[in-house]
Symmetry: C2
Subunit: 159 residues, 2 copies
DNA sequence: TATTGTTATACTCTATAACTATA
DNA sequence: TATAGTTATAGAGTATAACAATA
């Protein structure tokens, strides 16, 4: 999730409270709480449907994007799927160690590490993509098709 | 997020693919991808608004729920906010070490560890709750009030 | 100067599995 | 038998900060 290290060590804000605000505040209605719970459920479904691939949701997003784009620099790839450089370093390393991805230096710009899918990586990416819609379907199963479209459209707004 | 250890070490599914499915599959439209991104953004806003408290979103959900309910068993509390027992053990330990929560054995059932807010914990819970609506507001800022209500209602369905 | 990537460091969350204690 | 909790173990993701290399 989130910035655990971002929490700087500073003095706490004053502990004064508006009592009126407390009454109407219901944890379960807060968007952050709901997103966290939905995230847990979506991840769990991903794990079930993608069982056997040994690839995490974040790793999958990298493979899928790489499959869309062809060889792409590590940094850009991370930006496209929402992974910061330090995290991407670890993700790329794990995918490389698994033999799904192969790094090389960009001939045009020696700073860039190009990531490419290996043959095995391409196979895994395609097999997982073909199951991707099942993950989506099962995650959205509790709602109608129209509700699902609405949810997707609204979520896209806060991304 | 998710079940990293749930990925059992088994043989991969066959790497056969329906080519037609690949074309219509857009990573950025998948509910799981959107939820992960939304989760990142919501967490980041939480970190900004709650800066100074040194409390993570998960820890906050425990404090808020404890403030709602009064002393509650560790296990039940975890179930209510979506934290499994092993994770809850760590979360409770960190909150206890911080002096925000205090554990005790339930007199009625010696298996239960009751968690209670300390005085400081109550102050922090109330101060954070009073800021909770700001987190929600800023997270939902890109949409109208009605869209926000719709999103919350739909997310509640997949929780 | 700005960007890309690397590395060290650290912490939270997550989960499985095996275990003890209690009901 | 079932439930609550503990503990060991493991790994992913996240981020900060400092740094080197390149543009």
């Amino acid at each position: 999730m989130s910035a655990t290290k971002a929490r700087a060590k500073r003095q706490s804000p004053p502990l004064t409270v508006d009592p009126a605000a407390l009454k109407t505040y219901v944890l379960e209605d807060q968007i952050g709480f709901l997103i966290r719970r939905a995230h847990q459920r979506a991840s769990s479904i991903f794990d079930q449907v993608m069982d056997g691939f040994e690839v995490t949701p974040v790793q999958y997003s990298v493979l899928a994007k790489l499959h869309d784009l062809g060889p792409t620099s590590q940094n850009l790839l991370g930006r496209l799927v929402g992974i910061d450089p330090a995290t991407m370093f670890g993700v790329a390393g794990r995918l490389t160690k698994r033999g799904l991805v192969s790094p090389s230096v960009d001939p045009t710009d020696a700073r860039l590490v190009l990531l490419s899918l290996t043959d095995e990586g391409r196979g895994v990416a395609e097999a997982m993509k073909s199951r991707g819609s099942e993950v989506t379907a099962r995650t959205l199963e509790p709602m109608t098709a129209e509700e699902a479209r609405t949810l997707v459209a609204l979520l896209a707004k806060i991304t």
